[in-house]
């Protein structure tokens, strides 16, 4: 253990970041904050992919992270468009108000 960090430190860090994101999704009511917490969870997974690709010296993991970033950008563009449309019609982005599908 001269220069390296054991891989389980990265596993722990990613798990903690992922769970902070999951708790944020459960604990907040603002849709935009929930969206941001989803981004946080995506980033935890990205970090772990890069760590494992360095561990195995395989570039496929990093290319995969690149594609995840592209998909996340597309997802954010469409998601925020939907949210601003909801706000224009309902004047709210509180998840406890948006319950039309429930009844």
């Amino acid at each position: 253990m001269l220069n390296g960090i054991p891989i389980n430190y990265y596993l722990l860090l990613s798990a903690v970041l992922f769970i902070i994101g999951a708790v944020g999704v459960m604990a907040r009511r603002n849709s935009i904050i929930i969206f941001m917490c989803i981004e946080l969870m995506l980033n935890a997974v990205n970090l772990l992919l890069v760590a494992f690709s360095t561990l195995h010296n395989d570039a496929a993991g990093q290319v995969f992270v690149f594609f995840i970033m592209a998909v996340a950008a597309a997802e954010v563009a469409v998601g925020l468009a939907i949210l601003s449309m909801i706000y224009r019609n309902v004047k709210h982005i509180d998840t406890d108000v948006l319950t039309n599908l429930k009844n």
Binding site: V23, N57, A81
Partner: protein, 171 residues
């Protein structure tokens, strides 16, 4: 060597601590705008982790795409909706408590199941040249050319879709 740890280990520890702190601030800050700014800081810490792992290309792309584009989009939407601390809806204490308990249980399960991973080995720094633009570009355009083109189609579709959804009236 400082207190028995190498420089990279110190950097790893500091970056991890900062990333977790800022991530917690994202969830717990009441003002949505400061939430966005804390998320930008979290992304910078994660970019630092990428640099430590010798993935320079991904670190730069991460800063440009996430901190530069996606978070600015979030900020724009929040400012368009004029959200601030007063309009921020709050959950009851009971459901916050339940969310924290559920997260803690999930953490226990994940840590328990990841315990045996220590035998997998160490991530070595500074030896691998794989994360540089040249090597990554070769892999991207030789082995992953088709997914790369599909990603461009996906981005175009998202562009058109976002404009169509955001239009005032759809005829």
């Amino acid at each position: 060597m400082l207190l028995g740890y190498t420089i990279t280990q110190w950097l790893f520890g500091i970056l991890s601590f900062l990333a977790i702190m800022f991530a917690l601030m994202v969830v717990f800050s009441r003002n949505p705008v400061s939430s966005v700014l804390y998320l930008v800081l979290t992304f910078f810490c994660i970019a630092g982790h990428y640099l430590l792992l010798n993935a320079q290309f991904l670190a730069v792309v991460h800063i440009v795409v996430y901190a530069g584009a996606i978070m600015v989009l979030f900020l724009f939407v929040i400012m368009l909706m004029n959200l601030n601390e007063d309009t921020e809806p709050q959950r009851t204490h009971l459901s916050k408590f339940i969310a924290a308990i559920a997260g803690g249980l999930l953490l226990i399960v994940m840590v328990g199941s990841l315990k045996g991973a220590g035998e997998l080995g160490l991530t070595q720094f500074g030896h691998s040249q794989m994360g540089l633009v040249k090597n990554l570009g070769t892999v991207l355009f030789k082995e992953f050319l088709f997914p790369f083109e599909i990603a461009s189609v996906l981005l175009l579709a998202a562009l058109v879709g976002a404009i169509m959804i955001g239009k005032k009236e759809i005829k």
